[in-house]
Amino acid sequence: MGHLFWILLSAMVVNNFTLTLFLGLCPFLGVSGRIATALRMGLANIFVLVVTSFSAWFLNRFVLVHAPYLRLISFIVVIASLVQVVEMAVKKLSPALFRALGIYLPLITTNCAILGLAIFQTNRGYGLLEGLFFALGAGLGLTLALTLMASIREDVERADVPKLLRTQALVLFIAGSLSLAFMGFAGLGSAS
């Protein structure tokens, strides 16, 4: 149990996908203007990451055993189409949930964080349960980064930012500062 907890915590803060590994930067910079949308984006990310983890494990275990060179292409195809199918199902079964998360799902499926998770998981040889905790931690980490960024951006909107730096430039500066702060977590858990 402790092992699984450290996998989750490590993916969430120590090796935060966005702030330490610089994966999934497009939603981080693009959809972090409002806390409400950032939270939904984070939830959608958690969902897709968990689906990814499961399908990557399934592919590795049952399909790609004799054809590991097909890994990359099959990850991309299977994950993207699975998410599309799930999206259709959600649209049909729960329109409310679809309105909350639906529009983000197609955006995320081609994200590097998703493929990154599948590859990390494969390289580290995670089993089903480990993979799911890893995906959950990565998703929570993305949500954390998105929400922190959104709350800072909502505050900074009122600041007297030099014209040259408004919008994306300042967002990148804030992202860099956040990333510097997250360096404090480096090595967390490795000492004990």
Binding site: E154, P162, L165, S177, A181, G184, G187
Partner: protein
């Protein structure tokens, strides 16, 4: 007779930004003096370099009055206090400039920044020059002597000068499981950054600021309490592995960070309730990074991380406007 109708508040305390800031500078003088006492004139040089690094960009790109209100000087002094005495001066200068430019000016100047500029400069130096910033010369030695490669030319010093270095109390505890007498920690006769060794002096200066209400005492109080509780629980669980609460509070940068860094008016929460949450979070992160992290010291990162959470804390602890219902 004419009546001028204005919105509240109607009473002015007489305080202004420059007055508060110069008071903080004044309260930092004894801490700098203590640093000079322990580490010699090198300490003053580091302070000067870092203050110059902070003032220059503020003068070039900031508002005209910005260098005179003393806030950039505070950033420079605080940054210097977190640096090792033997650091090359150009690094101290660079750290001050980085902190002011990327921590403050890009947000539009005083009062609008998210992260503490001094700590951001320190975090930058830690990331850029990890060796220089963790080389701790021994306390003592010839008072006049340089404590390291002070006058190094930027990017041109392949061989560091021979200096006698020693681990900080935290490093000793973390990597060799050796304690340091509490009294040494209080007085400051240990290795460490310029301003973090003399805990008693810092506490006295902080007391002055708290009395004048220039810092919110709830922040340092909740940081100390939170560090004491978390490290105390760990100490009770396994006294051989985890140091006691008094060591945790008085070693490293906890006192300096709690009194001067976390209480920065701009980057701390606006409500009293928020201050307790803020302080508790810092304490928890400090203990977590020190005990389970790869680094010996985590105060800087703990405060920076909680700086990032402050907008959320402010939003959550926002008081309800009198007479209104719960916001829908």
């Amino acid at each position: 007779m004419s009546y001028v109708v204005t919105a509240s508040p109607h009473l002015h305390s007489g305080d202004s930004t420059p007055r508060i800031m110069w008071n903080v500078v004044l309260s930092l003088v004894p801490v700098v003096a203590a640093a000079a006492w322990f580490f010699g004139p090198t300490a003053l040089l580091v302070v000067l370099a870092s203050v110059a690094g902070a003032l220059l960009p503020e003068r070039i790109w900031g508002r005209r009055s910005a260098t005179r209100d003393g806030s950039a000087a505070i950033t420079g002094i605080l940054l210097a206090l977190t640096l090792p005495p033997g650091i090359p001066l150009w690094m101290a200068f660079l750290g001050g400039a980085f902190g002011i430019i990327f921590g403050k000016l890009v947000f539009g100047g005083l009062g609008q920044n998210v992260f503490n500029p001094a700590l951001l400069g320190r975090a930058f130096l830690q990331a850029a020059f990890p060796v220089a910033i963790t080389t701790w010369p021994v306390a003592g030695g010839p008072w006049w002597g340089l404590r390291g490669d002070t006058f190094a030319i930027p990017f041109a010093s392949p061989q560091p000068l021979d200096t006698v270095t020693a681990a900080t109390p935290l490093g000793l505890m973390k990597f060799e499981h050796k304690g340091t007498p509490l009294w040494d920690l209080m007085l400051g006769t240990t290795g460490g950054s310029l301003g973090e060794t003399a805990a008693l002096v810092i506490l006295l200066c902080g007391g002055y600021l708290a009395l004048r209400n220039y810092l919110n005492w709830r922040i340092p109080a909740s940081i100390f309490l939170s560090v004491a509780i978390f490290s105390g629980v760990l100490h009770l669980l396994d006294a051989s592995r985890y140091p006691g609460p008094l060591f945790m509070i008085f070693s490293g940068g906890v006192v300096l960070g709690a009194v001067f860094m976390a209480t920065d008016m701009v980057t701390s929460p606006v409500t009293h309730g928020g201050c307790y949450v803020f302080g508790a979070g810092i304490g928890l992160l400090v203990v977590a990074i020190r005990v389970w992290g790869g680094l010996a010291e985590g105060v800087m990162y703990a405060i920076l991380l909680m700086n990032a959470v402050v907008p959320s804390i402010n939003r959550i602890t926002q008081p309800r406007v009198f007479g209104t219902r719960e916001a829908a």
